[in-house]
Amino acid sequence: MSGWRNDPKRELWLAWYAMIAFYNIFVIVFFFMTHAQPPPYPFWSDGQVVHWFNGNHNALLIGFGIVFATAALTLPANALIAYSMRRMSVSRAFAYCYLVIYSLSALPGMLLLCVVLSVGAMRPDRDPAQLHWLYDFAFLSYVGTMGIFLIGSLVWMLAILLDKNRVLPKWFGYLNLCNALTEVVVSPAWIFHQGVLDWNGLISWWINMVVFGIYTSAFMMLLRQMIQREDFGDGPLPDLPKTPKAPRAKAKVTALTGTGTGTPR
């Protein structure tokens, strides 16, 4: 307990665990509870949309209730990413830009969908045309505004490529560019009602989501390593010590005593 209290990295670890918690809640609520992801079809008729709202009535209200209660977990997550840029040898402007972009993007890019679909689910006896309007509004605001996030990715990319402190590897900088380029592909969702570029199309949603999944997993792993490597200096971040190939029993003892890394106990 005292180890945790005296750990100078505890705030960083809290932010990292908040990020992990948020993404887990996001996946559970959006993919498994409310079925808002993958998004249902944009070409559905009024009747099909009403049926979708009725079928997911409780899940939408409870699921998005959970999101409203926990959405603030994105703030420490974004703060940790901004921290990575503050630790770099680049201007602080990068971190501030990223924070502002992602804080604002969360409104159309996530919360608006939750609010609008909750409004639809709250009174299922509404006029079907009105429910359809809410349905279109929710998914267009969510999927159609994904492009806003691409500027954030480019800001992070630029910071990583210019950095001399080796906070994050250069390949992740380039992966940011790949992620940004697939975010661009989502924008035709405003034009198409069906096909590969509609809001749940093979190209605009499915391929994009695979890239985003790889990108997100990569930055979670890299931010964890960054915290482990953090020395609170302002020069290059030291590398993690290379663990010698030890017999299994020895490695187990090391893991149990918690020595060798900066992970919290």
């Binding site: 001399k164 250069k170 900088g173 560019l177 380029l181 661009v184 592909v185 030291p238 993690l240």
Partner: protein, 199 residues
């Protein structure tokens, strides 16, 4: 701080042994990843093409193969000049390298102009982004490629920036940017083959 390895030395641009990967190895992550993403796009295109091959063949006939061939020649030649730029930079012939990178940029601009002209001509003939499934893929693939080309111009700017000052010149960065330019070229060859050539 305890248990940490000593802080690494600042990055240097020391000559690499023969047979090394050109540029930053990290750039190859982007090359590989973009290749995978475009493979997925091509797979989706080919799947839908096989489902309505008659429509695709009919629409494909409305493309101007000579403009497509011209685009390919422009980009392949630009890649040749880029190669000469890298070789000249390696040999320390900065002036030659600068000439070659400028020629690369000029051919890139010519490609851009040719592509925009082709889009205008197609739109005048009534073929838009939403006309049919073939033209959806045509405008999507050529559009996303053009976006890659525009980023390529930034990398050419980085090369010029590097070459202009001997103090900051880094052969590794020059090669990294060249790798990106060649990737744009490679992607175009695949797009050209799929959209214009494959029947």
């Amino acid at each position: 701080m305890t248990g940490m390895a000593p802080a690494p030395q600042p990055e240097t641009d020391a000559p690499k042994p023969a047979g090394h990967i050109p540029g930053q190895p990290d750039m190859w992550v982007l090359v590989l990843f973009e290749a995978l993403v475009f493979t997925a796009y091509f797979a989706v295109y080919l799947f839908h093409r096989s489902a309505s091959s008659e429509l695709f063949l009919r629409s494909q006939a409305d493309l101007n193969p000579w403009l497509g061939t011209l685009d390919t020649v422009l980009l392949l030649t630009s890649s040749m000049f880029m190669l000469r730029c890298v070789q000249a930079a390696r040999a320390g012939a900065v002036r030659t390298a600068m000439t070659n990178v400028c020629l690369t940029a000029a051919l890139g601009v010519a490609f851009l102009a040719s592509k925009i002209t082709e889009w205008i001509l197609l739109t005048r003939d009534g073929h838009g982004f939403t006309s049919n499934e073939f033209f959806l893929y045509y405008f999507f693939l050529t559009g996303i490629h053009l976006l890659h080309l525009l980023i390529g111009f930034i990398t050419l700017g980085v090369i010029i920036y590097q070459l202009r000052n001997p103090k900051r010149r880094s052969q590794e960065i020059v090669e990294t940017c060249a790798t990106y330019w060649h990737t744009v070229d490679l992607l175009w060859i695949l797009i050209f083959s799929l959209l214009y050539v494959v029947r």
